[in-house]
């Protein structure tokens, strides 16, 4: 069965510094990977996805993610963090035999000024 692990409950970064939110996955077949962000009392907003092609995927709000097949990872990155990036981030993998998303437990990102 497919699964996603987000090893860090929380990531703290200073504003202006680069950030990384980690995600590893386990799936049979080709992985379809997604990152979503959830702001307090809001729904999930789509950031980016990897389906196939270039291992470096660019998404919304300056975020990007690097797909690494050998390490089964899909880490979310941003070169320069903003305070407004503070939120809960979810990595998800799509079931290759259906269309449900399996989510990681989420990582809280705190960016301090």
């Amino acid at each position: 069965a497919q699964s996603v692990a987000q090893p860090e409950d929380q990531v703290n970064v200073a504003e202006g510094n680069p950030l990384t939110v980690k995600c590893t996955y386990s799936v049979s077949g080709n992985p379809y990977l997604f990152w979503y962000v959830q702001y307090p009392n809001r729904g999930l907003q789509f950031l980016l996805k990897y389906i196939t092609g270039d291992n470096l995927v660019k998404g919304s709000y300056g975020f990007e993610a690097e797909f690494n097949k050998s390490q089964t990872s899909f880490h979310l990155k941003k070169p320069s963090a903003l305070v407004s990036d503070s939120a809960l981030y979810f990595c998800a993998v799509r079931d290759p035999y259906g269309n449900k998303l399996v989510f990681g437990a989420g990582t809280i990102l705190r960016v301090k000024s």
Partner: protein, 116 residues
Amino acid sequence: DTAVSQTPKYLVTQMGNDKSIKCEQNLGHDTMYWYKQDSKKFLKIMFSYNNKELIINETVPNRFSPKSPDKAHLNLHINSLELGDSAVYFCASSQGGGPRGTDTQYFGPGTRLTVL
């Protein structure tokens, strides 16, 4: 112009009651979903409909019954509410379902259900 909308945003009710949550999407998608987010923020799929046909039914108590009157709507009815049903329920939609679908799921704002 809201893409995926849910009503109500908040729902507070007593144990044993029956309640419904409504979801509508104006994206022209053919697949809709219900997810549950528990108090620890963990998200899990409950149901999925493709063109009004149920295609995903996870291990959910049969007190939960989804209904899709048309492609743009997916409602969730819950009978005999229990304390453990308290959670945030998210509706989502995507274009394309099944094994070949790779399209992004777009989420509604959520409905916070509190059972007293």
